[in-house]
């Protein structure tokens, strides 16, 4: 079976409700191609999401999934990975879900370095709730009724924050480059530890100007590095409209200490006076 044919088997019969032109389609496509390339058994694969347009993703795959609550994809995914370390666990969601309400969990997931891949579909807007600013929205975007003068707040820098929080794999993808994304996803899943991919994924309905991204997004102008200092410089001198692998290093992956076997009976005996 060709890779492409195998990729189709990872799709469920549920058709995405995303608007025509949504960048998330490319992410779904890239994911299935990556799964096919890695030959992952469907029953050993779980995709966990929060709330938002992009969080609808798990239902469109035929693997196990959890469409959880807003901002909590990472803890649900973490709990699953801790309980079942042999499964391949993907966490996914949007920029609001991941960097606003889910911000705290993002920081700690980067630190904790469980072997999970986290894909954030960043369209710099809250699409599901009809177009409010998100943490990655520019401060002067004034098209939301909630912030009619723009947020006036400088945007969240996902890749830089991931780096500062100790993430061991940081990449940026672009839905206009699905093949590039597929390669990043493959590398992310293969990477032992927490892999973060921020995908620039335009919203044609609430951010129609993002159609211009395909003319603006360029390859990341630096080679991937394992030196956080270099990576920090690269990130701070980059305008964010670039895709590629930014940082990858082998930090210790969180794992259970291997301790001697005991029984509950022994614990009960500890109470004896």
């Amino acid at each position: 079976m060709t890779n492409l044919a195998k990729a189709k088997t990872y799709k469920s019969e549920v058709k995405p409700i995303w608007c025509p032109g949504c960048g998330d389609f490319a992410v779904l496509s890239a994911l299935t191609k990556a799964f096919a390339f890695l030959d992952l058994a469907q029953q050993d694969l779980a995709v966990i999401s929060g709330i938002g347009c992009s969080s609808r993703l798990p239902a469109y795959l035929s693997s196990y999934g959890f469409h959880g609550i807003h901002g909590r994809a990472l803890p649900i995914a973490s709990g699953l990975k801790l309980a079942r370390p042999e499964l391949t666990v993907i966490a996914s969601g949007g920029d609001g879900d991941g960097f606003s309400i889910g911000g705290n969990h993002f920081l700690h997931a980067c630190r904790r370095n469980l072997d999970i891949t986290y894909i954030v579909m960043d369209n710099e807007v809250y699409g599901m709730t009809k177009g409010q600013a998100s943490p990655t929205t520019q401060p002067d975007w004034a098209s939301s009724k909630l912030t009619p003068h723009g947020t006036g707040v400088r945007p969240f820098q996902p890749a830089a924050i991931a780096l500062a929080s100790g993430a061991s794999f940081i990449a940026r993808g672009f839905s206009g480059d699905p093949n590039g994304m597929t390669k990043l996803i493959i590398a992310a899943i293969q990477h032992p530890g927490f892999s973060f991919i921020q995908v620039l994924s335009p919203c044609p309905t609430f951010r129609p100007e993002q159609k211009l991204w395909k003319h603006q997004v360029e390859p990341f102008p630096h080679e991937p590095t394992d030196d956080p200092v270099k990576a920090a410089t690269h990130l701070y001198t980059d305008d964010g409209m670039s895709s590629g692998l930014i940082f990858q290093s082998n930090y210790p992956v969180w794992s259970q200490p291997d301790v001697a076997e005991a029984s509950i009976k022994q614990f009960e005996e500890e109470f004896i006076v």
Binding site: T2, N3, L4, A5, K8, K15, P16, I17, W18, C19, P20, G21, C22, G23, F25, A26, S29, K33, F37, I51, G52, M128, T129, K130, G131, S175, G176, D177, P178, N179, G180, T182, K183, P202, P204, T205, F206, K211, K214
Partner: protein, 173 residues
């Protein structure tokens, strides 16, 4: 990353040609599904037709490859001139309430790219066998281009479809 014009063996070339068509067909089918979800039966039908069309071309490639064992090539191993295969409609070219005229325009664009793709290989390939086959495929693609131009002309004779959604966007969750 392999440049398609530097492929040396026939099997890889045919595998790539097959990939090109089947990816195109799968994509049209996905876009048809998307149109169905958004309740646009006219455009859905058009995408399904285009999907069948590319699917037929894919089968034709397989006929050329009879008796051969084709390698399982990955789309991302090749340096396309476009983000995906030349006849694959990028997701971001689609929009809500896309007109059938626009769809055909995109399909024509795909076929033109397909034609150029093979023409390029026909000129530059190191293998004479591949150059020959690529020239044949290039000619076939020209036929596809003509066909689409014809469809576009036919459609232009009918009144252009108007699209208008008077309702504001929804908040599903």
């Amino acid at each position: 990353m392999i440049k398609p014009e530097s492929i040396e063996d026939l099997e890889t070339f045919l595998a790539l040609a097959y990939l090109l068509e089947i990816e195109s067909s799968d994509r049209y089918s996905e876009l048809a599904d998307n149109m169905k979800v958004h309740n646009d039966p006219e455009v859905e039908k058009l995408f399904r037709k285009l999907s069948e069309y590319s699917g037929k071309h894919a089968s034709e490639i397989i006929e050329h490859a009879e008796g051969m064992v084709l390698p399982n090539v990955a789309s991302w191993d090749f340096e396309w001139q476009s983000p995906e295969g030349p006849e694959t409609t990028a997701f971001d070219f689609i929009e809500y309430q896309i007109t059938p005229e626009r769809v055909l325009e995109l399909a024509l664009h795909n076929e033109i790219r397909g034609h150029e793709f093979y023409a390029n290989i026909a000129k530059k390939s190191p293998s004479p066998e591949i150059r020959k086959l690529a020239a044949e495929f290039s000619d076939e693609e020209s036929e596809h281009v003509k066909l689409l131009e014809q469809w576009i002309a036919e459609m232009a004779q009918n009144k252009a479809s108007t699209r208008d959604d008077l309702d504001p966007p929804n908040m599903p969750e």
